[in-house]
């Protein structure tokens, strides 16, 4: 199972980025091989629709699960349609969140915020 996590830094001990679409990096952690890969989030700097593009990256890497503190409606739509489950992360590091998730301690994320469109 592949778990994706939005991160501030390329570090398993880094904390999670509060924004999914604008996170600088994603960690893709494969719980079967116990290997992780850090990927730069090219969506972070796009002017609009970052959530959609970020969700696309998650699906391109064939992740099954996303652990994130927050997620926008559009990103959630992409992830749901692509059968990626979204769980609400807890405070703490990426490593702690993976452990918590595998122990079944995290719940599905239920509220998704609406997009912050540009143009203002």
């Amino acid at each position: 199972m592949k778990i994706a996590i939005p991160l501030e830094q390329k570090d398993l001990n880094a904390s999670l980025c509060p924004s999914f679409g604008r996170a600088p990096y994603f960690l893709f952690y494969d719980s079967d091989t116990e290997e992780g890969e850090f990927v730069e989030n090219s969506a972070a700097t796009t002017p609009g629709g970052a959530g959609i593009r970020a969700a696309q990256i998650i699906t391109d890497y064939d992740a099954d699960i996303v652990l994130t503190p927050r997620c926008g409606e559009n990103a959630a739509e992409v992830l749901n349609k692509a059968d990626v489950a979204i769980y609400k992360s807890m405070s703490g590091t990426a490593r702690e969140n993976v452990t918590a998730f595998l122990a079944g301690e995290l719940a599905l994320l239920r509220d998704f915020h609406s997009g912050f469109h540009h143009g203002r």
Binding site: T46, T59, N74, G115, H117
Partner: protein, 292 residues
Amino acid sequence: MADRRDMKVAVLSGKGGTGKTIVSVNLAAVAGTSVYIDCDVEEPNGHLFFKPVISSVEEVAVKIPVIDAAKCNGCRRCVDFCKFNALALIKNRPRVFAKMCHSCGGCMLLCPQKAISEQERTIGVIQRGTAGNVTVCTGELNIGEATGIPIIKRLLQLGAADVRCPVFIDCPPGSACTVMESIKDADYCLLVVEPTLFGIHNFRMVYELVRLFNKRCGVILNKCPAGGNPAEDFCVEHGITILSRIPFDHELGALSSEAKTAVWESERYRRQFALIYETLIQEVCHEAVAYS
């Protein structure tokens, strides 16, 4: 050189709440026959002052892509192309996020399978009406839409189609692309500035934008305190013309909070804005006018 009979003046501010709408509404009202265009399509409020009698309403639509899943082979070219992230490839077929789409038409052009056609989608409405001698054009973008630019384009077309008279364009606050669209055809940009330090930063950004477009511009300092103020220093430093200083005024504020057009309510304000209008004409058209 612009002609006073059909000069186009764009009224801008770095942020909301500087009195930009009050200035544009009152200038249009004092100008005799004029056109007022509210390009702040996300939060139009000029019509609240004018309370125009509406003569026409039209919807503004844009073209968005529709994907024929049977023809599409999932090559992903459209998704990679879309700069606005309005397309995502899910289970090997693109999905359109209509509210993100900027209707550039690119995906339709490049699809090798000719699987993309277009469909109209309404993003807002435009109302046109009259209040006294003022033709009032208001656009309103539906909530959550990506961009108000198509509405602003149509508004400006509609405003320009009128008889020869001065046009006042009430621009959106800030310095985003909607502002650029609003000032594109203006003869002159009028910057309404609030003399706070916080206001200066935003002021500088609009000023730079106006310079980028090579527009002539001048400043109205609003809510001026007694004594010097940082906005004035900025203008002096950069050689920007100050057309008028409107002192901090409780009564004007009170009239505005009741959505009343000050120049129609009181002779004092009629004179005050007539004077500003006169200065504006001289500045825009470089002509001397007798205006009472």
